[in-house]
C-alpha cells in the first residue's frame, strides 16, 4: 500500500518547443508522492505550479521524462483510468460547478463514469456528509459561499473514491473564512480516511499543515522537506516571493526582541498556546 501514487521522473516541459529562447516551464523535475501523504507544492506565480498540475492529469504531456500515476505511465490510453482515480479541485469556485444544484454537481463525475443510479445516490450523500454539506442537496451554486462551493467541489471529487486528491490553488480565491472551512475539511478528511492529498498553493499557512513541502522556483525544485526544515530557510523563501505564515514571522520577530519562543509554532493558535503557557513552562 505504501507505494508511490504519483511520480515525476526528470520531467521537462516547454510550451513552445520550437523556440529555444523560451525557457521551459518545468525543467528536470523529479519527485514522488506516497500513498497516505499530504504534500504541498508551493511556489510563486510563474514557478511552474499550474503546469505541473496539468502534467499530472494529462492535460499536457512532457517533452522529456515520465509522469507515472497509480502505477501507470501517463499516456493517451491510460489517461481516463488515471483520471478516475484522481480528484481535482481548482481555483475558481464558480468555474468548476457543472451541475444545476449541489447534488447534480457531486454526481457529475459519477455519471461520467457510468456508475449505476442507486449507487450514485448513496455516494452523493456520503461524500456530501464528508464535507458537511449534506443539508444543501438542492441548493443552487449562486446561493452558496465560495468556501461552500469549494467543499462541494471536494465532495464531487470524493464521490469517485479517488486515491489522490489534488487541490490546485483551491483556497486562493476564498475569503479567510472560506479558506479555513476548506482547510479544516481537508484536515478532517485526512484524519478520517487517510486520503493522499497534494495541495498546490502559494499560501504557506496551508502548506504548513502538510507532511512534506516541495518548493518550486522558475520551473525547478528549489527545496524539499518537512515544513519545519523548509520554513527555517526563511530568507530564501522571501527571496522567491513567498511569505512565511504569520505565526512564524511573529515568532521570528519575538525572538529578535528577546522573547525566547521556540519558533516551531506554525499556526496562530499554536503560537498563542506557547505564549500563554510561557511562564508556567519555564
Amino acid at each position: 500500500m505504501n507505494g508511490s501514487i504519483l511520480s515525476f521522473d526528470q520531467v521537462t516541459f516547454t510550451y513552445m518547443p520550437e523556440d529555444k529562447s523560451v525557457k521551459p516551464a518545468v525543467s528536470d523535475l523529479s519527485f514522488s508522492i506516497k500513498e497516505g501523504e499530504w504534500v504541498a507544492l508551493v511556489g510563486h506565480n510563474g514557478s511552474g505550479k499550474s503546469t505541473i498540475a496539468k502534467l499530472m492529469n494529462g492535460l499536457l504531456f512532457p517533452q522529456q521524462g515520465t509522469v507515472k500515476a497509480m502505477g501507470l505511465d501517463m499516456s493517451e490510453e491510460s489517461l481516463w483510468d488515471i483520471r478516475s482515480q484522481m480528484g481535482m479541485v481548482f481555483q475558481n469556485p464558480d468555474n468548476q460547478f457543472v451541475g444545476a444544484t449541489v447534488q447534480d454537481d457531486v454526481a457529475f463525475a459519477l455519471e461520467n463514469n457510468g456508475i449505476p443510479h442507486d449507487e450514485m445516490v448513496v455516494r452523493v450523500r456520503e461524500s456530501l456528509q464528508q464535507v458537511k454539506m449534506e443539508e444543501y442537496l438542492d441548493h443552487e451554486p449562486h446561493h452558496l459561499s465560495g468556501g461552500q462551493k469549494q467543499r462541494v467541489a471536494i465532495a464531487g471529487a470524493l464521490a469517485l473514491r479517488p486515491r489522490l486528491l489534488i487541490l490546485d490553488e483551491a483556497t486562493s480565491m476564498l475569503d479567510p473564512q472560506g479558506r479555513r472551512e476548506v482547510i479544516e475539511t481537508i484536515r478532517e478528511l485526512r484524519e478520517a480516511t487517510g486520503l493522499t492529498v497534494l495541495s498546490i498553493t502559494h499560501d504557506l499557512e496551508e502548506a504548513a499543515l502538510a507532511d512534506r513541502i516541495l518548493v518550486m522556483n522558475k520551473g525547478q525544485k528549489q527545496m524539499e522537506g518537512t515544513p519545519d526544515s523548509v520554513f527555517s530557510a526563511d530568507d530564501e523563501l522571501t527571496e522567491m516571493g513567498l511569505d512565511l505564515p504569520f505565526a512564524m514571522r511573529m515568532a521570528g520577530l519575538l525572538q529578535q526582541a528577546g522573547v525566547p519562543v521556540t519558533g516551531e509554532s506554525m499556526t496562530e493558535h499554536e503560537l498563542v498556546e506557547e505564549l500563554w503557557t510561557y511562564y508556567s513552562n519555564k
Binding site: 478516475s84 468555474n95 468548476q96 459519477l110 455519471e111 457510468g114 443510479h117 452523493v124 449562486h142
Partner: protein, 265 residues
Amino acid sequence: MMEKMIFGRFIPGDSLVHRLDPRAKILFVFLFIAIVFIANNAITYAILLGFTLLSVFLSKIRLYFLINGLKPVFILMAFTFFLHLFFTQGGDLLVSIGFVDIYEEGLRQGIFISIRFLVLVFMTSILTLTTSPISITDGIEVLLGPFKRVKLPVHELALMMSISLRFIPTLMDETGKILKAQMARGSDIGSGPIKERIKAVVPLLIPLFVSAFKRAEDLATAMEVRGYRGGEGRTRYRQLNWRLIDTLSLLLLVGFAGLLWYFRS
C-alpha cells in the same frame, strides 16, 4: 422590473401540476398549442378559456401574479386586438367614426385572437413556472431521444442548455460588478440619446465576453478532469418517473380536444 418578469422563472411548489413528470408537461403544452387552433366559435373559445383557468387553478399560481408578470404580453395582445378591430371587414358595420369602420367580424376576430394569444401564453408560462429548468432540460433530452438515430446530438444539446441555465445568475452577477466598475470610472450608461447608450454598452460587453471565455475554458478543464467524455456510456443521476397521473393528464387533454371538435362550427 426583473423581479416582476415571469418568463422562464420557476416558482417551487407542491401542486398537482408541479408534481407532473416534465415529459408529460412538455408534451401537454405542445399538444395544447395544436389543439388551440381547433377552436373557431364563441363556445369553443369559452371552453378553451375555461380549461386554461382550470389549469392555472390546479397549478396553484395566483392569477394576479400571472397577469401582473405578463404585462408586456398584454401590450402585444392589445395591439393585435386593435389591428383586427380596425382592419378586418365583414359582417354588419357596428361603428363608423370618421375614416375608421368597425365591423362585427373585426370585433369577433379581435376577441378570438386575443383569447388564443392569452391561453397560449398562460399555458407555456404554467409550464415554466411549475417545472425547474433542469427538469425541463431532462424532459427535453428524453423526448428528443429518438432523434439520436438521425445523429442529432441530443445529449450535448441538453448539457449545453443546463450549463447555460446554470451560468445565467453567475454572469448576471458579473455584469453587475462590471457595471459598477465602469460607473466608478465615470461611464454613464443610464442616460443620453439611444446612440450614446448603445455605445456605453460596449465597455460592459467586452469584459463580460472575456471573462465568459475564461470561464468556459476552466469549465472544460474541470469537466474533462472529472471524466467527461460525451454522452456515451454515461448514467443519469436524475431519474424521471412517469406515473398514472401523467398518462391521465394527457388523456384529459385528448378528451378536451374531442370536446372542442364536437362544438366547433
